[in-house]
């Protein structure tokens, strides 16, 4: 009963904050609301007996991603240009499409009768680590390369070079 109440509370908070994320005018606020949503998700994970994930969620998402986003906004908006009004037509179209998608999804969810029902067993970090090193070893390795690629790629993109200025000759070596 308590769980259900918590869930109801968390869920409604999430929906509200989610709405703020996508609907708010101020982009900085939106990012902050995203942080709220992500943190609430961590709560939800706890309800789902996944403490390890909840921790990761807080660290990686609510901490990392939100910070990154804020950086992104700050770097690309000089003075207060964070208020960007969405066009009315697009809002309507977007709402229609999103509504339709939600209707379809919820329809599918509701018409799927027999869903498995979870227990109370908590998955430990050790179990997850075990899985990483056996069944998902290859995926793990690939993921590491992926993260490397993403880092290198992001650096390659964000570094000032090529565009605008011409770095001549061997002297360019110093840029790295």
């Amino acid at each position: 009963m308590i769980e259900q109440a918590i869930f109801a509370f968390v869920a409604s908070c999430m929906l509200y904050s989610g709405l703020q994320v996508v609907h708010g005018r101020n982009l900085v606020h939106a990012v902050l609301w995203l942080g709220v949503t992500l943190s609430l998700t961590a709560l939800l994970f706890l309800l789902l007996r996944a403490p390890f994930l909840a921790g990761i969620q807080i660290l990686l998402y609510a901490g990392g991603v939100v910070t990154l986003m804020l950086f992104g906004i700050m770097l690309t908006h000089r003075h207060g240009g964070v208020h960007v009004e969405n066009q009315q037509g697009r809002k309507l179209r977007g709402a229609l499409a999103a509504g339709a998608l939600f209707a379809l999804m919820s329809g599918a969810i509701c018409t799927t009768g027999a869903l498995p029902h979870g227990g109370t067993a908590v998955v430990s970090a050790a179990e997850i680590g075990q899985a990483f090193l056996t069944d998902h070893l290859l995926a793990f390795e690939v993921l590491s390369l992926l993260l490397l690629a993403a880092m290198v790629g992001a650096i390659a993109l964000a570094r000032r070079s090529d565009y605008g200025e011409v770095v001549s000759g061997p002297a360019g070596r110093g840029v790295r």
Binding site: T76, I109, P116, H117, G119, I128, H136, L143, A150, A158
Partner: protein, 100 residues
């Protein structure tokens, strides 16, 4: 107990909120945020299913999804910065040199 349906509906709702943002945000960062919301909904799904089925697979999947999403965000932000440098704004509906 909370039925699985509830989690799924919540995830679906968050996902479609993200879709709404994706479709309406003009600011590139806004779009990134919206995609984050969608990815987050997936994670709820995965963890909820993992809880339902027991075992680690779902959570492992969710972890992979998180990592990948973060990687995407990193690249995305770099792209946004690049865009900003080349165009002096990050409104996606202004970046329309390539069309028709």
């Amino acid at each position: 107990m909370i039925p699985l349906h509830a989690y799924l509906l919540l995830a679906a709702a968050l996902f479609t909120l993200g879709v709404y943002g994706l479709l309406t945000r003009r600011n590139a960062v806004g779009i990134l945020i919206s995609v984050e919301l969608m990815a987050n909904a997936v994670n709820i799904n995965l963890v909820a299913f993992s809880w339902a089925h027991g075992g680690t697979v779902g959570q492992v999947f969710a972890l992979f999804a998180m990592a990948v999403t973060v990687a995407e965000v990193v690249v995305g932000l770099a792209l946004v910065i690049l865009l900003y440098r080349s165009r002096k704004d990050v409104l996606v509906d202004q970046a329309r040199d390539l069309r028709h």
